[in-house]
Symmetry: C2
Subunit: 341 residues, 2 copies
Amino acid sequence: MEVREMGEFGLIERLRKAIGTPAGARLVAGIGDDAAVWRQGPSYVVATTDTMVAGVHFLPEGADWRDVGWKAMASNVSDIAAMGATPGFALVTLCLPASMPIDAIDRLYDGLRACGDEFGVTIAGGDVVSSPVFAVTVALLGEAAAAKGGTPVLLRRGTAHAGDAARGNDAIAVTGALGGAAGGLRVLLADEAQDKPRRALVERHTRPQPRLKAAQEAVAAGIRCGIDISDGLVQDLGHVCEASGVGAEIMAGAVPVDPALTAVFPDDALMMALSGGEDYELVLVGPEEALRKLDGAASVPVTVIGRIVDDAAKRVRVLDAAGAEIPVAQGGWDHLSRPGA
Amino acid sequence: MEVREMGEFGLIERLRKAIGTPAGARLVAGIGDDAAVWRQGPSYVVATTDTMVAGVHFLPEGADWRDVGWKAMASNVSDIAAMGATPGFALVTLCLPASMPIDAIDRLYDGLRACGDEFGVTIAGGDVVSSPVFAVTVALLGEAAAAKGGTPVLLRRGTAHAGDAARGNDAIAVTGALGGAAGGLRVLLADEAQDKPRRALVERHTRPQPRLKAAQEAVAAGIRCGIDISDGLVQDLGHVCEASGVGAEIMAGAVPVDPALTAVFPDDALMMALSGGEDYELVLVGPEEALRKLDGAASVPVTVIGRIVDDAAKRVRVLDAAGAEIPVAQGGWDHLSRPGA
């Protein structure tokens, strides 16, 4: 069997099983969350890594290499944010064709550094290797605090509550607005002249803003369940349901669709907001009151879009105003089995 | 200018400058040592990353994927060892062509895990992406202890002493025997029938044994300067001289040449021991008495091969029994500018 037949999530599950349950009591979170977490002394190391390959994750022709660098760092910052942790140090690996212009590498580093500076990340090391294809891998290390008693304070995927005697059903909220990055990609691929809303969409695609501050505000407000939207709302919320053993219901009318997306692609805006990847907004899950309070206090809007429900099938269902299910093309983003990969 | 014209070390120096001197007082070691080190609470995180690209670092045709996995992990363990630290957790990134057989990935993981188990490493996460070319990147995180007063206990590159009023010239020692891995590569490329010494050389190339235990023994014995031999003795010792602002003299007759290498390639054995890469032995620099004492006590032989000298040109000179310099083809290994890259 080949990789293309198994797909990304099948393969990750296979690797998770191959690794087994690590014996080390220091490991708090392994494969299956936004980042790995282990104890070191009185606090916790939070670690993630993300790779961008030329021709797969971006088109090298005409790409602004500063954007490539920014995004390579931003996607990692988003993963650390989605754990409720604080990023600190990065290792950067460059796979470089011998013909790559040094100028492009300078610009790539400009972008890496600009994003790193913005979010408190120091590039501490890495590796440089020769390769027929350009790729940049960032490994980002952060720190999570320990609560009284020593347990780490984190946003996890497996902590959504479907309601029990002690506590009602958790609500589901998202930060900011959705679908903009997918819209930006569509604008770029169409290669048309760009008006103001189109430029705004392209900016969402090329310069994603990880919600580090909002994640820290959520943690401070007592929220303990979250994920970042890298593959699409429905798919990423599906990971929360899978890990928590619950289902989710999203009210389509409540989903904050990027206004520029509605302006440029009115017919597809909702679908793109539900399944478009790379927005790097956060899904936050917790008591509705806490999430609504957070909306007023946080640095970005926090919009309640649905609730966690008891569902043995662990489905994510999107409902219209009448409560009927809106079918959402499954998938979002599978990095291994999409066409052409 | 293109990458091939600048070469690996030129580019790393350029990136080091681009990053600048990080403001964060938590960073102890950035670019320019075997691994990066930063403070977290009362101890230190030690971090390294290393990539292997198919067709560049190994030939995928006929490769045993378990060996690829072992080596990808082992080269990182060697870097952590060369800092005097203890490895703990790894992030593994796979760049996978869609046509890659799942069976090959299973075997790769067998090798990664086998090496990880041997050296106390838990695979905690990673990334899986589509790519036209296979590559595996391991980011390995470890921990270094703090001495009284809170400073980290490490093997550094920049701590070699050329002699001053308080202390004589440091001696230079290496663990184990050298040149075997280069010999193994030569045997593999010649594609001949393999007798016992040839098999031993191939094993050195395909299953390197990082000197984690010896490094910890050296640290316990008070040694504070070291590097692992990944690019070749002369080149890697050159990094120590560069970082410490000193020169080095190696007595050719004292260099422990791999006996299997002497048996198979008698004419070239010494040169291969001086400049062959991927042995993953350690260079240890410190007081001669401490290094000689370590030889008896350590888990592998520790052989004194020369001494640190005052030299503004920061040269590594290899001397014969009469004290005449033996020219060593410069280079060892430059990952970006070698032919074909």
